[in-house]
């Protein structure tokens, strides 16, 4: 590692000129795309490209942490909310504050002028690299840890306390007192057993009938006695009057015939007896 006057390698220059225009395009996309999720993706692209540039500039820790924290956690939480908006939704373009666009434009132009002035007047010293003249270096994790947890330990702790307070505050604000005891699996099971005399069944309800001519949800099943089972059709369909009658059930006839012949109402194996 040369201490001073570090040459920027050809590879790095190529990398910069490939990634930088794409980043600018993605950043513009962030402003102009219609859908919120597309905008979020543009932002993700900018973040990842920026991480690549960080790594190219000898700051691998910064680059990787940029991806882990911002892209992996913060942006993911944003996306989590945006996704629930749905695939067809696009932003409404009505102004909620009067003159919003003009104020925004004015401030934007002002910011651009300030930034342009600063960047245009800056004089860059020759590149020395992050580790130039500093053997420990802040680029590697050990050096960074030494800076953060030795030189700035008070500031770090203060920020940590602030963040924890904010998190606890969010929990407190959204906390609701539990008014009824928690229903666990055991309690639910016991409640169902206790409700047995009121006509609650423990098993799943019987499924609708499957016949050679129909197997739709609106056709009731036949019980072993040949009667239609009303629970096998959804209550909604029955109330709407969309329930069909079960098709002609040959089994019932057979049983009756046997009853006439043999006098015994056996409902067992029909084929065997017929």
């Amino acid at each position: 590692m040369t201490p001073a006057g570090l040459e920027i390698s050809g590879g790095e220059t190529v990398l910069f000129w490939v990634i930088a225009p794409l980043m600018v395009l993605a950043a513009l996309g962030l402003l102009f795309v219609k859908r919120a999720v597309h905008a979020a993706m543009c932002l993700v692209f900018v973040m990842v490209s920026m991480a690549i540039l960080y790594i190219a500039q000898e700051a691998p820790f910064l680059g990787v942490v940029q991806v882990v924290v911002y892209t992996g956690a913060v942006m993911m939480l944003f996306l989590f909310v945006l996704m629930l908006v749905g695939v067809d939704a696009s932003d409404s373009l009505t102004e909620t504050i009067r003159g919003q666009r003009w104020i925004g434009l004015l401030i934007g132009i002002g910011l651009a002028i300030v930034l342009g002035g600063v960047v245009g007047r800056a004089a860059f010293p020759p590149a020395v690299g992050l580790n130039g003249g500093d053997p420990g270096g802040v680029a590697n994790p050990q050096g960074l840890a030494r800076v953060l947890f030795a030189d700035y330990v008070l500031a770090m702790e203060a920020v940590g306390v602030l963040l924890v307070t904010a998190a606890v505050g969010a929990l407190v604000l959204t906390h609701r007192r539990r008014l009824t005891p928690k229903q666990d699996q055991r309690a639910v099971a016991d409640a169902r057993i206790r409700a047995l005399p009121d006509g609650v069944v423990l098993t799943p309800l019987p499924s609708p009938g499957v016949y050679a001519t129909s197997n739709a949800m609106d056709t009731p099943a036949l019980g072993p006695d040949g009667e239609q089972v009303p629970q096998s059709v959804s209550r909604v369909l029955r109330i709407r009057g969309q329930e069909k009658a079960a098709p002609h059930a040959p089994g019932t006839e057979l049983v009756e015939t046997q009853a006439q012949v043999g006098g015994s109402r056996s409902t067992g194996t029909r084929e065997g007896e017929a």
Partner: protein
């Protein structure tokens, strides 16, 4: 030499990349991709065969010897299927999502060491058996994993249908919660090894593999790695019984195959990280110095690495064949109320022990009494801690009516409380 990313051997990295040419890097990258793709074909066969044996059935045994070509046939079938795009899909993102998944899953193996320096016969040229390494290589693995989730999330969203959306919402929550636990369990390895570079972590395990002294962190890592790869019992984003297949419901043909590929490569990824960080990496399972270290030199370590990798993969399949899927709320409660606090507490304990050992210079014998004392106090406190009083049963039917105006302004009754009968109400009903 790769001019941009790795100008010199970085500090804190054991592998020596000083002889590396760009051609060697390209060859290694291609070899890694080939290794991953063939491993996926093998892994699918392996999983089906092992699960079948566990369920007392033969499994695939028709195509090729012992059914080995079954996954090849399946891949061909997938390629030839009709490639559908649902009408309500967001076409660009719908196509992009599986690509993100596969791309990010291919990134991880770049920093996994397959072995130490490989000597090439008849030359004096050696090269590390890994593509690259840098001081924050393990964080890079985490970054690649967290980017890969975008594939799942965007795929579920772009399908424009309910089940995929539910799957991707679940996946987001799952990954955010389980990555925290995973990161915390990795921190203890960083503390012990004093480095985040994979080759340095492997070379720090000459005396003992980290899964023994760091057993709690190892258990947490294994649990969260299963959660991270959406495998049973944590396959909630694609639960067949609840969400059809979650985020990939609307995908077919090659796009579906990409998701499938990414899932299996991710299994290999987390297994390889587990081997590298906890199971000694490419080190032979013998004491240090056995046979003069001959088992840890040359090309042999690659065999050890692969054996360990497939042992972890076997564990994956074993878990799948044994455990049932968790309910979603149980899963989240487990992640946030058990895994993360335990991982945090373990990191604190480990940091204190390391501080006592390294900074205070206490020997292990000296602070064993301290550990026992703390444990005794903790157990005693837990023992005498008063139990939470259970809420008194009863639905409040026999209670006195409450005075709603007791606090000066009217409040609604709590569940179980009864208001006194309203006088006005009675008048209206009886029409007096």
């Amino acid at each position: 030499m790769n001019p941009v990313l790795l100008a010199e051997a970085a500090p804190g990295v054991a592998a020596d990349f000083s002889q590396e040419t760009i051609w060697a890097s390209i060859v290694k990258a291609v070899l890694i991709v080939v290794f991953l793709l063939t491993s996926v074909l093998f892994a699918i066969w392996f999983e089906r065969k092992v699960v079948a044996r566990m369920q007392v059935r033969p499994g695939p045994n028709w195509h090729g010897p012992a059914g080995l070509l079954q996954s090849l046939a399946d891949a061909m079938k997938l390629l030839l299927k009709e490639d559908m795009t649902v009408t309500r899909a967001d076409r660009f993102v719908y196509l992009l999502a599986p690509m993100i998944s596969v791309f990010c899953s291919l990134l991880v193996f770049a920093v996994i060491p397959f072995g130490p320096s490989l000597p090439f016969p008849w030359t004096d040229w050696t090269t590390p058996a890994q593509l690259t390494d840098f001081p924050v290589a393990v964080l890079y693995v985490l970054a690649a994993a967290s980017l890969g989730v975008y594939g799942i999330v965007l795929g579920g969203w772009a399908s424009g249908s309910t089940y995929p959306l539910l799957g991707s919402v679940r996946s987001t929550a799952q990954v955010i919660s389980y990555e925290l636990a995973m990161g915390l369990s990795l921190v203890s390895v960083f503390i012990m090894a004093g480095s985040m570079s994979t080759s340095q972590i492997v070379s720090s395990q000459t005396q003992i593999w980290w899964f023994i002294p760091l057993a709690p962190a190892f258990v947490i890592y294994v649990i969260s790695m299963i959660g991270e790869t959406n495998r049973l019992p944590f396959d909630l984003p694609e639960a067949e019984g609840e969400l059809v297949s979650g985020y990939m419901t609307e995908y077919s043909s090659m796009k579906f195959a990409w998701f499938f590929l990414a899932e299996y490569i991710n299994m290999l990824n987390v297994s390889a990280v587990c081997v590298t960080l906890f199971l000694g990496g490419w080190r032979a399972p013998v004491p240090d110095g056995f046979l003069g270290g001959a088992l840890n030199e040359g090309w042999l370590p690659i065999i050890w690495f692969l054996v360990k990798l497939w042992a972890v993969m076997f564990f994956f399949v074993w878990v799948r064949g044994t455990l049932l899927r968790l309910r979603y709320d149980q899963f989240m409660v487990f992640g946030w109320k058990v895994l993360i606090p335990v991982a945090l507490a373990w990191v604190v304990v480990l940091a204190v022990v390391q501080w006592l050992q390294r900074v205070q210079g206490m020997s292990f014998q000296q602070f064993v009494p301290v550990i026992i004392g703390v444990a005794v106090v903790f157990i005693a406190v837990m023992w005498f801690w008063p139990d939470k009083k259970a809420a008194p049963p009863g639905d409040g039917a026999d209670k006195e009516p409450v005075d709603a105006f007791a606090g000066g302004f009217p409040v609604p009754p709590l569940p179980g409380e009864k208001l006194p009968p309203s006088k006005r109400f009675g008048k209206e009903v009886h029409g007096e």
